[in-house]
């Protein structure tokens, strides 16, 4: 049996990845999610080509009304800036800060979870207690404390997300590690004399990837919401950079006369988060199937 599997040619990494993505075909919901996320990634990449105007330029002269028109497809905001261009450029901010923050949370969370689950004992107690304490704060209150203390900036948002999300990641990784550390291949690696770091990173972590990919996708959604919410509360990126939440904050008091100014950025952020969550749901459905 072993000889047969050894003889079978393994596909390359890229091919396997493509095959996995192709599996998504079976989940229509996942496909819609993937399409939404892909749409915004493309918009972010090609922002300079797609945006018709400079996102921070004020077009105050009279082009007709402030709402959607032939010149300004989605209208102009309270400072005469083109909303379409701001949404397009804003996608770059969400899709850089969000993934970086999620990645940092994963690096810290995986380290904590692997250590706790692999060594157990007092390491586990320390890591779990620290996680419990952080998790006992309501998320939004924690964001308020951190950002108001250290000031609003992209870097501080990343720090805050890492601080808040890593205990949650750590819990998942810990429980997966507790299960995987009893597997035969871990025992084999120990017998070969591999170091603990090697076992954690090469034997355990790759085998925990299934649930972690789904969780990462959901977490991207949460992080996107968090970035939007901070922007909306006035704790996001400093102006004038176009930040979807900040765009809503600047204009939602004018809802009664110019609802388009808030509606379009809200639609943009909602569609991206819906995309991440549907994608996560599709991925989970597929992982349950095999």
């Amino acid at each position: 049996m072993a000889a047969i599997t050894m003889g079978k040619k393994q596909d390359g990494f890229l091919l396997r990845l493509l095959k996995r993505i192709a599996l998504l075909r079976e989940s229509p919901v996942g496909m819609i999610g993937a399409a939404l996320v892909l749409f915004w990634i493309l918009v972010a990449i090609f922002a300079p080509l797609l945006a018709p105007y400079d996102p921070n330029e004020n077009y105050m002269d009279d082009y007709g009304n402030w709402g959607p028109s032939a010149a300004f497809w989605l209208g102009r905001d309270n400072q005469g800036r083109d909303i379409l261009s701001r949404i397009i450029w804003g996608s770059r901010i969400v899709l850089t800060v969000g993934p970086i923050a999620t990645f940092c949370a994963y690096v810290v969370g995986c380290t904590m979870g692997l250590l706790a689950g692999y060594y157990r004992g007092w390491v586990d107690v320390v890591v779990s207690r620290i996680s419990d304490i952080i998790l006992s704060f309501p998320v939004i209150i924690l964001y308020l404390i951190i950002i108001s203390q250290f000031g609003p900036s992209a870097f501080n948002i990343i720090v805050a997300v890492t601080f808040i999300a890593s205990p949650q990641v750590s819990r998942i990784v810990r429980s997966l590690t507790l299960e995987l550390r009893e597997r035969d291949y871990v025992a084999a690696a120990k017998m070969r004399g591999e170091s603990a770091v090697y076992i954690m990173l090469v034997e355990i972590l790759p085998n925990a990837r299934g649930p972690l990919i789904v969780d990462a996708c959901l977490r991207m959604g949460y992080t996107t919401i968090a970035i939007g919410v901070l922007g909306f509360l006035g704790l996001g990126l400093p102006p004038p950079d176009p930040d979807w939440g900040g765009m809503v904050k600047d204009t939602y008091t004018m809802m009664s006369t110019d609802p388009h100014m808030s509606l379009f950025p809200c639609a943009a952020i909602s569609s991206l988060v819906v995309g991440f969550n549907l994608l996560a749901d599709g991925l989970r459905e597929i992982s349950l199937r095999d």
């Binding site: 919901v29 006992s136 209150i141 308020l144 939007g228 939602y252 969550n277």
Partner: protein
């Protein structure tokens, strides 16, 4: 049972202690931090230093922390720099206001999540299941400020049925009751989907159990299988999840209250954070953590009562 309570209560105290230390250190670590905020950005460093010494803020942080903790325990929450009044005179009104919308939202979320969750989970993969699951993913994906804006544009601007802001003051011509609709709707929309999915997952799991098969095989109608056998067992798991929503409803309402200008706890925390009102931030955070940890304990306790296997173990 008693041992369980003593242990959980000790855990509550320890967590509160650790949290209070973190909150204090983050807010007041550097000696000039507090006085700088009181005097404002235009005061000279000399003035800041004088007030720092006068207020005793140049002493070691551990001593100041113990003093502060003593004040909190005696019920003195300090003075708000933003409102110029004792925190005690502000925070309780705000909490009362928030608890009004929180309890209304909770009263909607609990029955709605059970109805939708059970309806979706009783036949996994049915059209009803897929519709409810999709709807719950989409509604939880929309950030609160966005659903606030969407609801406002339909019900406030387009139909003119509701007021756009909720200052809890009937002088604008809108009744207090009509002002509560929008914030409650936003909270329910954002939170309901998550609870529905939890109830659904538990229901799906319950439907595969042998006792359900037995009930079906002995000839009970599908309706009776669901109502008499499935629901009661399926509700044990989600009970804790439902209870934990209280945290979100009481302390996570910052965005909702900002959208509609509701004078509640969340709005107070946001204003305090934006204006660096340290005493309010500290008191509010301590309260928020207290709510979280106590609902966790109540959740554990309720779970124990509901689940005989744990109760008698």
């Amino acid at each position: 049972m008693l041992k369980f309570f003593v242990k959980r209560f000790g855990y509550l105290l320890l967590t509160m202690l650790a949290v209070s230390l973190i909150i204090f250190v983050v807010n007041e670590y550097s000696p000039g931090q507090v006085t700088r905020k009181i005097l404002g950005p235009f005061a000279t460093q000399n003035e800041v230093d004088i007030l720092t010494v006068k207020m005793g803020l140049d002493r070691p942080i551990i001593i100041r922390y113990i003093e502060w903790l003593g004040q909190i325990l005696r019920g003195d929450l300090g003075k708000s720099t933003l409102w110029g009044a004792p925190v005690n005179s502000i925070i309780w009104d705000r909490l009362l206001n928030t608890s009004i919308i929180a309890s209304l939202a909770f009263a909607v979320i609990v029955p709605a999540s059970i109805i939708f969750g059970v309806a979706a989970g009783m036949r996994e993969g049915s059209r009803l299941d897929r519709t409810i699951s999709l709807a719950s993913i989409v509604t939880t994906s929309v950030p609160e400020f966005a659903s606030g804006v969407f609801l406002q544009s339909v019900f406030v601007i387009w139909l003119g049925l509701l007021p756009g802001t909720s200052p809890l003051d009937a002088s604008g011509g809108w009744s207090i009751a009509s002002q509560l609709v929008l914030p409650v709707a936003v909270m329910v929309l954002y939170d309901l989907g998550y609870v529905v999915r939890m109830v659904r997952a538990s229901m799906v799991e319950t439907m595969t159990r042998p006792f359900i098969r037995t009930a079906v095989l002995k000839g009970l109608s599908f309706r009776n299988v669901i109502m008499k056998h499935a629901i009661r067992n399926a509700m044990i798991g989600p009970f804790t999840v439902i209870l934990l929503q209280i945290n979100y409803l009481v302390t996570g309402v910052v965005v909702v209250e900002a959208v509609v200008g509701y004078p509640g706890f969340g709005r107070m925390m946001l204003d305090a954070a934006l204006n660096k009102d340290i005493a309010v931030i500290e008191a509010g955070s301590m309260f928020a953590v207290f709510v979280t940890v106590s609902t966790q304990i109540i959740g554990d306790f309720g779970y124990m009562l509901l689940n005989p296997r744990i109760r008698f173990a």
